[in-house]
């Protein structure tokens, strides 16, 4: 695991050099812990933590709870672990001063850092130029190590199991939230730490997904989900739809459209292509059949995205995004959107980008499930 740590530090420092940053402070609020986890390897529970990496010398970490301090130490990647205490954040600032104070400090998730913390940093490090390093860290994390890929492969296996639990729970009369409960229980039983999941049921009136409600499923409903379990820190996502009973003609045609679009997107995936090229390949299928208007932001967000230590990472697969995919980045291709054929439809598979193509992370069949 020390090799893994060294590989990451090397990537981060390369990114710092390119960005002209002399010190990197990764900030982790409760819902965006990915950068601190990347640097410490530790699973955290508290609402605030940071990790500091100078251009030379050892990293340090700062946690708001004793439990998180212990978790970081136990992982063994960062030996210098100190408390993070508001309002003065004195231990963190002392450590930053101990190593040469950087002239330019990059903060990952600066955009989310509470005013109380940033005020302490500005006051404690006068003259230091502070810039956002969020984009830099997004780029650094985009390419995964073999160890990281192994965790995501495990998450992919749990994705498939989660979908099986989803299908098993579908029955007329069941309420939406009960389906989610069954899936969550299975994911946790399999060792998932967390899961991001959206849901929708019904017919052509469904325009998008949200958390579940208490609507009871009916025969003829199409039930859609994206579920995204987290294993050992890493997320993988699956998007599928199922019909209660025999699918109607619109649902069958809709599935054929989405399958063709997904496979068109997959067909162009390889290292060196841009997010734009993949999105265009997917959207061209919709345009070919006269559904191009449903690829706009009025109906959909993205045609896929990256994932890793966060469920929704760069690159965003959208037309116009010129991010070049590198080998061993991980993305999901999902042409999810609304059409009048069957309402909102979801279908997506996560893949590892390879030199000449991709590695599929799911074993789940690519079909319109019928229960």
């Amino acid at each position: 695991m020390q090799d893994e740590r060294d590989w990451r530090i090397s990537r981060v420092r390369h990114g710092m050099t390119k960005a002209g940053i002399e010190g990197l402070l990764a900030f982790a609020p409760g819902w965006r812990r990915e950068n601190v986890r990347y640097l410490t390897g530790a699973s955290l529970r508290g609402s605030f933590a940071t990790a500091y990496l100078p251009m030379a010398g050892n990293p340090a970490a700062f946690a708001g709870t004793v439990q998180d301090e212990q978790a970081i130490r136990a992982h063994g990647w960062v030996a210098d672990v100190r408390p993070l205490v508001y309002p003065d954040c004195s231990e963190m600032l002392t450590r930053l001063r101990e190593s040469n104070v950087p002239g330019k400090l990059g903060i990952a998730h600066l955009e989310l850092m509470p005013r109380i913390m940033l005020a302490a940093i500005r006051k404690g490090l006068p003259g230091v130029e502070i810039i956002s390093a969020t984009r830099m860290m997004n780029q650094v994390r985009m390419v995964k190590s073999e160890w990281e890929l192994e965790q995501i492969r495990r998450a992919g296996v749990v994705c498939s199991a989660g979908w099986e639990a989803f299908v098993s729970a579908l029955k007329p009369g069941a309420m939406e939230f009960e389906i989610v409960a069954a899936v969550e229980a299975e994911l946790k039983r399999l060792g998932a730490q967390d899961n991001f999941m959206l849901f929708a049921s019904g017919g052509t009136e469904v325009m998008g997904m949200s958390p579940p409600g208490n609507r009871r499923l009916q025969l003829g409903d199409m039930v859609r989900t994206e579920l995204t379990p987290q294993l050992n820190g890493y997320f993988a996502q699956i998007c599928r739809s199922a019909v209660l009973g025999e699918p109607n003609e619109g649902q069958v045609r809709s599935f054929a459209l989405f399958k063709e679009a997904l496979e068109a997107g997959l067909a162009v995936v390889r290292a060196g292509v841009t997010a734009n090229e993949i999105a265009c390949a997917e959207n061209d299928v919709f345009r070919k059949y006269g559904y191009g208007e449903y690829c706009t932001s009025q109906y959909t967000r993205v045609r896929g995205h990256g994932h890793g230590l966060h469920p929704d990472e760069v690159p965003m697969i959208v037309e116009g995004d010129q991010t070049v995919l590198e080998e061993n980045s991980v993305i999901i291709i999902h042409p999810n959107t609304y059409t009048p054929l069957a309402g909102y439809h979801v279908l997506g598979d996560p893949v590892v980008v390879k030199k000449d193509g991709f590695e599929l992370l799911l074993t789940t069949e690519r079909k319109l499930f019928s229960v």
């Binding site: 939230f177 969550e184 946790k188 998008g208």
Partner: protein, 352 residues
């Protein structure tokens, strides 16, 4: 992450009670000469927004804008495609989406003459957003309103107490199910999660982990209709020497809990029972309003304040062992004039 049942049920919290919450805030704003109050929330920390609107920020960030008179509006980074769902689960009609909260705020206030914008718990706002507001609202004063909404939330109404009691029942039941039988910790987590989610929670955090090699901890923090409660017990696989110490220390703190007591007094009570034990330990007293963040968002100094009658709090005692594992015992209590009533009463008393 919030992926449980989100409902707006006027049988539980009436529409008029929801409006009255905003009205109370507006009265205070008017007294302070505040034109609009902004409340920031994200998927991790948005209890004040839920309290005023029943809205669930299930992902990303948002700001609830409350004018001195009139209806609140939501300024959100969530897509406008989810507005129909948001309307179905809240009392909000004015929903605005965009990539930049500063731009949305500027647009929201463009018809008003510059005055005072109050930021609730300004210290916890992202500095980036505050700086952006300052740049995009020239002539406006940004004023910290402190924990003005939290202070109201800490005096739950009778209808809120009903929901808190229900939430506590769910938390306790989930722990009880997680404790039962011989299971691995992932199996305990799966069963506890299923129990809580089938009972209709909006969110639940389940922590099942070893507490030395002789025990496991099952801790559940659940949100039911926006109301968070806490429960935790340790299941022993042997008779570690620290087991009676945990029981006695927790029992001593629980017995001490009543109006006017603060965490320092509970620490003294537990410490006396521990009698100089070498095991590092921590006791905490967390208002139900702070349970969603484990108490981490309390403003400096708040942790030390005494509890008052009518409040609902979580009591949590944690042992931290040298091997990096933890044992946690916790319950949720309603503080009453005559003492503290344990709302997680489905669980056996720790000290028994």
């Amino acid at each position: 992450m919030k992926r449980g049942l989100v409902l707006f049920d006027p049988q539980e919290i009436s529409a008029s009670e929801l409006v009255e919450r905003t009205t109370r805030l507006q009265r205070s704003m008017q007294q302070q000469g505040v034109t609009a109050a902004f409340i920031y929330g994200d998927v991790y920390h948005s209890g004040d927004i839920t309290y005023l609107s029943n809205l669930c920020i299930y992902w990303n960030e948002g700001v609830l804008a409350v004018p001195a008179t009139g209806d609140p509006a939501l300024l959100s980074k969530l897509s406008s495609r989810v507005h129909p769902w948001m309307r179905s689960i809240s009392n909000l009609k004015d929903l605005r989406s965009g990539a930049n909260l500063g731009d949305l705020a500027s647009e929201y206030l463009k018809a008003s003459s510059p005055g005072i914008v109050g930021l609730v718990e300004m210290d916890w706002w992202p500095a980036y957003v505050v700086d952006d507001l300052q740049a995009k609202l020239p002539g406006w004063e940004l004023r910290d309103l402190g924990s003005i909404v939290q202070q109201e939330r800490r005096r739950p109404s009778e209808s809120e107490l009903k929901l808190l009691r229900k939430s506590a029942e769910i938390s306790a039941k989930a722990v009880e199910i997680g404790l039962a039988g011989t299971m691995t910790n992932p199996e305990r987590a799966g069963r506890a999660e299923l129990s809580a989610r089938m009972a209709g929670v909006e969110d639940v955090l389940v922590f099942c982990h070893p507490a030395t090699e002789h025990a496991d901890t099952v801790e559940v923090v659940a949100e039911y209709r926006g109301y968070w409660t806490l429960a935790s017990r340790v299941v022993f696989k042997g008779s570690p020497e620290w087991a009676p110490m945990l029981r006695q220390a927790y029992g001593a703190a629980e017995q001490r809990l009543r109006p006017g007591v603060d965490v320092a007094q509970l620490r003294m009570a537990a410490g006396a029972a521990l009698n100089g034990s070498a095991i590092p330990w921590r006791i905490d007293l967390i208002h139900h309003t702070d349970l969603e963040t484990g108490g981490d968002y309390r403003l400096p100094g708040e942790e030390a304040k005494a509890v008052h009658a009518g409040s609902v709090v979580g009591l949590r005692l944690e042992f931290a062992f040298a091997d990096g594992t933890h044992a946690v015992t916790a319950d949720t209590f309603e503080i009453r004039d005559d003492g503290a009533r344990r709302l997680t009463k489905a669980l056996p008393q720790v000290s028994s």
